[in-house]
Amino acid sequence: MNRNRSLYSSEAKWGIILALPAILGFLIWTLGPMIASFVLGFTDWNVVSTPHFIGMGNFKKMFVEDFIFKKSIYATVYYSLGSVIASIVFAFLVAFLLNQKVKGLPLFRTIFYLPSITPAIASAMLWIWLFNPDFGLLNQILKRFGFPRLLWIYDEKQVIPSLIFMSIWGMGGMMVIFLAGLQGVPQELYEAVEIDGGNWWHRFRYVTIPMMTPTIFFNLVMAIIGSFQVFTSAYIMTSGGPNYASMFYVYYIYLSAFRYGQMGYACALAIILFLIILSFTLLVFKSSPYWVYYESARRR
């Protein structure tokens, strides 16, 4: 008994020691800066001088004076809603197709997955060319079919839809998760539908979709968090333009902190982003009992 306890405690001790790098890393590099940035959000810190506590000053400025803040909230929410819905639908459909027995399946899977391992900068550069109104491939295609020329990322109204369109291209990771989920759907359920005389639609609607809801849920949460933090396309492709139409929130935080040197204000912006992402995530979590089906859980 005694020996057992000492074994446990020594195991616990070693467990903690061995996990210490990860724990310390989290405390020093993640939790610490998070707390620091929360505190700094209430100051006027500009990196070079000592911070002064200014209460809600940053937030007041944000909501009252700062027109870029409003534009960036709009751009980011617009983009997030669009890209989350579009990429989930698209990734699901592609995964569904890639789950069928067709010739050259590994090749298709590779092709659809490939974009998501392309470095963000490289794919941004590529899309700049595709979107070019004068020489870009997309407009060449439109022209071939007699459609009018679009300005894509160079137009205030088209820039967000264009970037949503581009985000679909990078849905490979999500697709792989869907594919794994699809392969986990028990075959006997499909057989049961067939025995009852159901067609492909019934199989899809009453077996595939319900069994996939946990996977959809996971992808939805990850996609929301990821899409609110979109940065590269604004940084590389549009500089937040035209006329601030793609001033994504994280890019604006970056500009405030490093270009304008307003670190305190940037921290305050980050607090707001944290609250936005938190509330969206909570919303999805709270709604999950109504639409996510776990085989092991009992229905309410």
Partner: protein
Amino acid sequence: MKKSIWVVILSLILVIGITVSSATAAVELIYTYWGSPLERDAQAKMCRDFEKAYQSIFPGIKVKDIYIPSNYDEKINAMIAAGEPPHVAQLGEALALEWAEKGILMDILPLIKQDKDPSVQIENRLSMTWYWYDKGKKTIGTNLAAEVMVLWYNKEIFDKAGIPYPASNPEAWTWEKFLDTAIKLTTDRNGRHPGDPGFDPSNIDTFGVAFGTWWGPILPFIWSNGGDICDSEGKRPLINTPASVEAIQKLADLMLKYHVAPTPTQMQAFPALRIALQTKKVAMYIDGQWALLDLGQMAKEGRIKLGVAPLPKLRKPVCLELGAPNVMFTASAQKALKESWEFYKWTTNSEKVISLVRGGLWMPLQKWYYTNPKYMNQWLDPAVHPPEYKPAVIDYLLKYGRRSPSYYLRNWGKISDIMYQELTNVWLGKVSAKVACDNIADKIKPLLVGRYDK
């Protein structure tokens, strides 16, 4: 046993190493800067020259030159936050004066007053290049070099078309002549010019002129037309006055109405503008004098027949003078004041960096380089500087020079960003210059809170 011997030996080496290096550890100055690769080599050489020249005065002195080609402000911010800013640094204009007011950068006026070196005296440098703050009572110094916006052109294209070169005299080089020249030099795939029947604006082989859409190429035209971004107090927007709007509309018309200049989206298919000039994609282009570093190199190698002209005038000639300051950071420089000051003077003494000046990158700061023929010859390299350089650039600067708002206007970084964003819609033909300028005026109003120097 063997192991412990190695440990002993290694620690001995370490101890000796540390002792030796700390015994010889003289001051090591940190200098940060940006620029093209050619610039990096030249600046590094400048640092080595300083080390050699000052070895007897400051034995063992070293300059650690850190080249930061991109995300410059962020890295400097990080160095400051880490408590180790550079001693001397090139710095973006948007941040410099703000930091100066907070005491991050040194006021060097007291140092200048104590020093007899003529190269650093206030009256001996181009007065436009000084950065004043605290109502003009303090200064962080001058630019690293003087720079102006000019019009570069490829003489071969002019020769072939049989069109006279742009006038070197700013008074004679009018907008009408400029537009006419640009139209004649613009050719589509079938050799037609804008205005010819059948001209195809979507397949242009050579554009008459090209310019970037940041404030550098735009502002001189606004001024030349009698407009401005704001009043001289820096309090009231003037960007939406008829004179300013007209100038911007005229620039937009070059792209959209006359098709003699590429739009920003067309420019994307362009190589760097200097290459576009050399390969005859454009006949003229507006850029800083600094472009001469690369253009001059091409001219020297006989790959381009280079010409330079002042910017065309709308109502009166204006030459935009701009640049980025070289500064001393208080926290570091105070610890090695003598060394930092000597090095600061060295970097801004055009004589010490004459290779960069002669190579075309920089224009000198000291006035005698502009007035005394002896000094002028040290600077102007006939293989690099085109023959019309003196009237088209030097006289243009001396007679019509006006410093950019980055020298004095508060919130310049944000104001110029707003201008850039709003004007994008003008270059794409989405809105008229008037609409965009009204928007800009509204948005910059709260940012116009005066000047640093007044």
